[in-house]
Symmetry: C2
Subunit: 126 residues, 2 copies
DNA sequence: ACAACCTTACCACGAGTGTGTCAAGGTTGT
DNA sequence: ACAACCTTGACACACTCGTGGTAAGGTTGT
């Protein structure tokens, strides 16, 4: 079996064994296991571990972020939802024709009441 | 000006004023400011704030993650690097032709030494 | 059999997240 | 002028992240 145990893998990748387990728990790199449960790191995993280190240090991002990026690739719904959020770029009032769905100028007191009613923009009865 | 102050915005979006400031600090939603420095939330911001809440609670993700997603859209280099990392899917030894760049079977003692030399895969002199 | 390795499960600890509250001071509407 | 709002900054607290240990027990090679 051309695979390394955790300690060996740690040395070649400059992670600590502790961190390799942590990375696994984070779902980033899950090595195969031997029959007795030992982690076995193959060339692919070693490569990814090195790149991971590079990635994290070069851009100053954490494992959690990369885990999230992974989630973004796996969870189609999540990706869509996030996309949708970014799609709705903050339009300044000037860009928005003076719709009536948010207008108040003077009636400052009833404003909030009206807003509360309109709190669900396109969801409730129009 | 058809924009809400922080407290009003908080009420319509079900965030607290505190959180609106926090969200701003996180770089997610940065409202315009009045001349005197008051935050002014327009319809766009309000919409995004509501969607943000939905997004966070529905998928159980934090503001930091969404901030990272934003960074992914802005920082082309980061996006590439992350892509590259995921591209290198973990190939099992079976998928990899028995290359010589990682081979040892019996020489368990010199193994680590050899590895240390090969630690920088494609970067160093080939 | 014995050392050297592996496993999981804990304790610890500084930094960051998510949230509230409070203080000191500026702005605004009536 | 005064109340009600806004601003930034701080203290606080529970929780997670990224790390390191250490302990109790299984595996492996010589």
């Amino acid at each position: 079996m051309d695979a390394l145990t955790i300690q060996e893998a740690a040395q070649t990748t400059e992670w600590s064994p502790r961190m390799l387990r942590y990375i696994e728990r984070a779902g980033l790199i899950e090595p195969q296991r031997s029959q007795s449960g030992y982690r076995l790191y193959g060339p692919g995993e070693l490569q990814r571990l090195r790149t991971l280190r590079e990635l994290a240090s070069r851009f100053g991002i954490g494992l959690a972020e990369i885990g999230f990026a992974m989630r973004l690739r796996r969870d189609e719904q999540l990706a869509e939802a996030v996309d949708a959020w970014f799609e709705a770029e903050p339009r300044r009032p000037e860009d928005v024709p003076p719709a009536e769905w948010l207008r108040w100028e003077q009636d400052k007191h009833t404003k909030l009441l009206a807003l509360a009613a309109a709190a669900t923009p396109a969801t409730s009865r129009a």
